[in-house]
C-alpha cells in the first residue's frame, strides 16, 4: 500500500473544494446544483476516509510530508499531516458532507444559493489547506481565505443586522491576521525560513521569538474569540444562515485554535511561560462563566447557542495551564522538556473536546435552525410548546445539549471527564470547580429552552403563529445524523484518543 506522503491525496484535498467552488460559480444556474455539491462533498469525504486509513496504516503514526513541486522546505512549500491535523481534516470532511446535504435542502429553490455555494467551498478549501499546511506564510493566506469567505457568508442574509455583524467579523478577522503577519515577518527575520519544522528546530527563548509568540497569541485570540475578545462572535454566528452558523461554530473558530496550539506547543514551545499559560486558563475560566450567563439571558435562540460557543471555547483553553504543569512534572522525572509539550492527557482532553463540541454544536445549530424555520421566528419566547409539533428536532436539540452539559453517555461527558482527571492528576484542583460549575450553568440555559418547548399550556396573550411544515425531510435527518454521531463518539472515545495520542508533539515535527 502506498504511504500518505507519496500519494497525491494531500494536494487533492486542497484542490477538490477549490474546483467545487469554481464549478459552483460557473454552473450557478444549473438545476442539479444541490446534487452536484452533495456529490463533491461525498467525494471529499471518501478521500478523507482514505487519508485516515493510510495514516493509521503506518505503525508509528508518523507525520506525512508532501513537497509541492518537489522543491523541498526552504524553497518550496511543504504539506504536512500529523495526528492532530488528520483528526481536523477528518472532522472537516465529515461535517462538510452533512452540512452540504443540509445546505442543499436549505437553499433549494433559493436564488441566494448562487452566491452561497462558491463561498461555501472556498471556506472549506481554506480549512483543508490550513490543516495540511506546514508553512507559516501559507497559514496566513489560509486564515485570510477563511476569514474573507466566512464574512461574506455571514452577509448572505442581507439584513441590516447580518451586514453589521459581517463587517465587524471581517474587520476583526483582518486585524487578527495582521498581528499574525507581523509575527511571521519577525520570525523570518530571525530564522530565515518560513517552514514550521525548520523554525521549530532553530527556535529558542530569544526576544524575537517571544515577541512573535505574543503577537501570534493576540492575533489568534481575536479570531478564536476568547473572553475579552469575544465581542464580535455572538452577532456573527447568530445572524448567519443556519449551515454557515454551524460551520462557523464547529470548524472556523477551531481552525485558528489549531494554529495557536501548533505554535504554542510545537513551533515556538521554547518561548511560552507558565504565567502566560495561567493567564489563558483564567481567561478561559471567565469565558465559561460569562458565556453561560449571557447564554442564559439571551432572548434569541441562535444568540443563546452562539454564547454557548463562547463558553465552550473556554474549556479548551484550560489545555494551556494543564499541559504546562504536565511538562513540569515530566522534567522532574528525568526527561528534558523545556517549556510546554503537546502530548499526554491534557492535549488528548483538548482534542477530544474540539471534536465533541464540533459535532454537538453543529447538531444544535441545525436543529435550532429547523425550529426557527418551523416557527418563523428566532425568539425563545415563541418556542413554547414546540415539542408537540417538532418532536424530532427537540430531541436532537436535547441530545446536543446533553453533550454540551457533559452528561453520560455523550461525547461531551468523556471530554469533561478527561479534563477533570487531568486537572486532578496535575494537582491544579481549582480548574475542577470551573469545569463543574460550567456544566451546571450549561444545564441552566439549556433546560430553560427545554422547559419552554414542552410547555403546552396556552396563554391568551401570545400570538398564535401558523406553524409551517419543514420543506424537506433532509433538514431534520441531517441534524439527526450529527446528533447520533455525538452519541456514538461517546462510545468510541478510544479511536479518537489513539489517533491523537502518540504522534502529536515535539517528536512529530
Amino acid at each position: 500500500m502506498t504511504s500518505l506522503s507519496s500519494s497525491l491525496l494531500l494536494p487533492i484535498i486542497v484542490f477538490l473544494p477549490l474546483i467545487a467552488a469554481l464549478v459552483g460559480f460557473i454552473l450557478s444556474r444549473n438545476t442539479f446544483q444541490g446534487q452536484l455539491n452533495v456529490g463533491f462533498a461525498f467525494v471529499q469525504f471518501l478521500i478523507v476516509v482514505l487519508m485516515t486509513i493510510l495514516f493509521l496504516d503506518e505503525q508509528s503514526y508518523q507525520s506525512a510530508v508532501y513537497q509541492i513541486g518537489s522543491w523541498g522546505a526552504p524553497l518550496g512549500i511543504d504539506l504536512v499531516v500529523d495526528g492532530f491535523s488528520i483528526l481536523m481534516i477528518g472532522l472537516t470532511g465529515l461535517l462538510t458532507l452533512i452540512l452540504t446535504i443540509y445546505g442543499a435542502a436549505y437553499y433549494a429553490d433559493d436564488p441566494k444559493s448562487l452566491r452561497f455555494w462558491p463561498l461555501w467551498w472556498l471556506l472549506i478549501a481554506g480549512l483543508n489547506a490550513l490543516f495540511v499546511s506546514g508553512d507559516a506564510f501559507n497559514i496566513y493566506v489560509c486564515l485570510e481565505i477563511i476569514g474573507l469567505s466566512a464574512a461574506a457568508l455571514v452577509a448572505l442574509q442581507s439584513t441590516r443586522a447580518s451586514l453589521e455583524a459581517a463587517l465587524r467579523y471581517l474587520l476583526v478577522g483582518l486585524l487578527g491576521s495582521l498581528f499574525y503577519l507581523m509575527a511571521i515577518a519577525i520570525l523570518y527575520r530571525s530564522h530565515g525560513t518560513l517552514d514550521l519544522a525548520q523554525i521549530a528546530a532553530s527556535s529558542g527563548n530569544g526576544l524575537p521569538d517571544q515577541v512573535a509568540m505574543i503577537l501570534i497569541t493576540i492575533g489568534l485570540l481575536l479570531k478564536i474569540a476568547l473572553f475579552p475578545l469575544h465581542f464580535w462572535l455572538p452577532q456573527a454566528h447568530a445572524n448567519a444562515p443556519t449551515p454557515v452558523s454551524a460551520i462557523l461554530s464547529a470548524l472556523v473558530v477551531k481552525a485558528s485554535l489549531y494554529v495557536l496550539i501548533k505554535f504554542w506547543f510545537e513551533v515556538l514551545s521554547g518561548s511560552t511561560t507558565f504565567g502566560a499559560s495561567q493567564v489563558l486558563g483564567v481567561l478561559g475560566g471567565i469565558a465559561i462563566v460569562y458565556g453561560s450567563w449571557k447564554a442564559f439571558r439571551a432572548t434569541q435562540l441562535k444568540v443563546l447557542i452562539a454564547y454557548s460557543t463562547v463558553a465552550q471555547l473556554g474549556y479548551i483553553f484550560l489545555l494551556f495551564p494543564l499541559s504546562e504543569h504536565a511538562a513540569n512534572t515530566s522534567s522532574f522525572s528525568g526527561s528534558s522538556f523545556s517549556g510546554s509539550s503537546f502530548s499526554g492527557s491534557a492535549s488528548q482532553a483538548a482534542i477530544y473536546f474540539i471534536v465533541a463540541h464540533a459535532c454537538a454544536k453543529a447538531a444544535m445549530f441545525l436543529s435550532a435552525g429547523n425550529l426557527i424555520l418551523s416557527q418563523g421566528s428566532g425568539d425563545i419566547a415563541q418556542l413554547k410548546g414546540i415539542a408537540t409539533r417538532e418532536p424530532l428536532n427537540v430531541l436532537i436539540f436535547t441530545i446536543a445539549g446533553v453533550s454540551l452539559i457533559g452528561l453520560p453517555p455523550s461525547a461531551g461527558f468523556i471530554a469533561k471527564w478527561l479534563l477533570l482527571t487531568t486537572s486532578i492528576e496535575s494537582g491544579q484542583w481549582w480548574w475542577v470547580l470551573v469545569v463543574l460549575s460550567g456544566g451546571l450553568l450549561a444545564a441552566m440555559y439549556l433546560f430553560k429552552i427545554l422547559s419552554l418547548a414542552f410547555d403546552n399550556t396556552l396563554d391568551d396573550g401570545a400570538v398564535q403563529r401558523q406553524p409551517k411544515a419543514l420543506s424537506s425531510k433532509l433538514l431534520t435527518s441531517s441534524a439527526l445524523v450529527l446528533a447520533l454521531i455525538t452519541l456514538a463518539l461517546g462510545f468510541n472515545a478510544e479511536f479518537i484518543l489513539n489517533i491523537s495520542n502518540p504522534p502529536v508533539g515535539v517528536s512529530g515535527i
Binding site: F137, A155, L167
Partner: protein, 98 residues
C-alpha cells in the same frame, strides 16, 4: 543609521499608528484605512528584511509582500462593499452612515 533600520522603524511606526487608529476611530471608513496602514507597515518591514545582508536581495519577503497586497486589496474591497450596503440601508435622505 542604516537605511534598513530606518525602513524597519518606519514600518513599526506605521503598524502602531494603524493599530491606534482602529481602536480610536469611530467611523468604519477610518477603521478600514487604519487596517491598510497597519498592513503597509508590515510590508515595509518585510522589504527592509529582504535587504538585510546588503550584498543581495532576498526574493522571499518580496513574494510575501505581493501576496499580502493582493489579500489586503480583497479584504478592503469586501469591507468597502459591506460598508456601502449598510450606508444605503440607513436613511438615504440624511446621507450619513451610522
Amino acid at each position: 543609521m542604516s537605511s534598513e533600520l530606518l525602513y524597519s522603524l518606519t514600518g513599526l511606526g506605521l503598524f502602531a499608528i494603524g493599530l491606534l487608529g482602529i481602536v480610536v476611530a469611530g467611523h468604519v471608513m477610518r477603521k478600514i484605512l487604519a487596517l491598510n496602514i497597519m498592513g503597509i507597515g508590515i510590508f515595509m518591514l518585510l522589504i527592509a528584511i529582504a535587504k538585510q545582508d546588503g550584498s543581495f536581495v532576498d526574493p522571499v519577503p518580496h513574494a510575501m509582500v505581493l501576496t499580502g497586497i493582493v489579500i489586503a486589496a480583497a479584504g478592503t474591497a469586501l469591507a468597502l462593499n459591506l460598508m456601502v450596503r449598510l450606508h444605503r440601508m440607513s436613511d438615504p435622505k440624511q446621507g450619513k452612515p451610522k
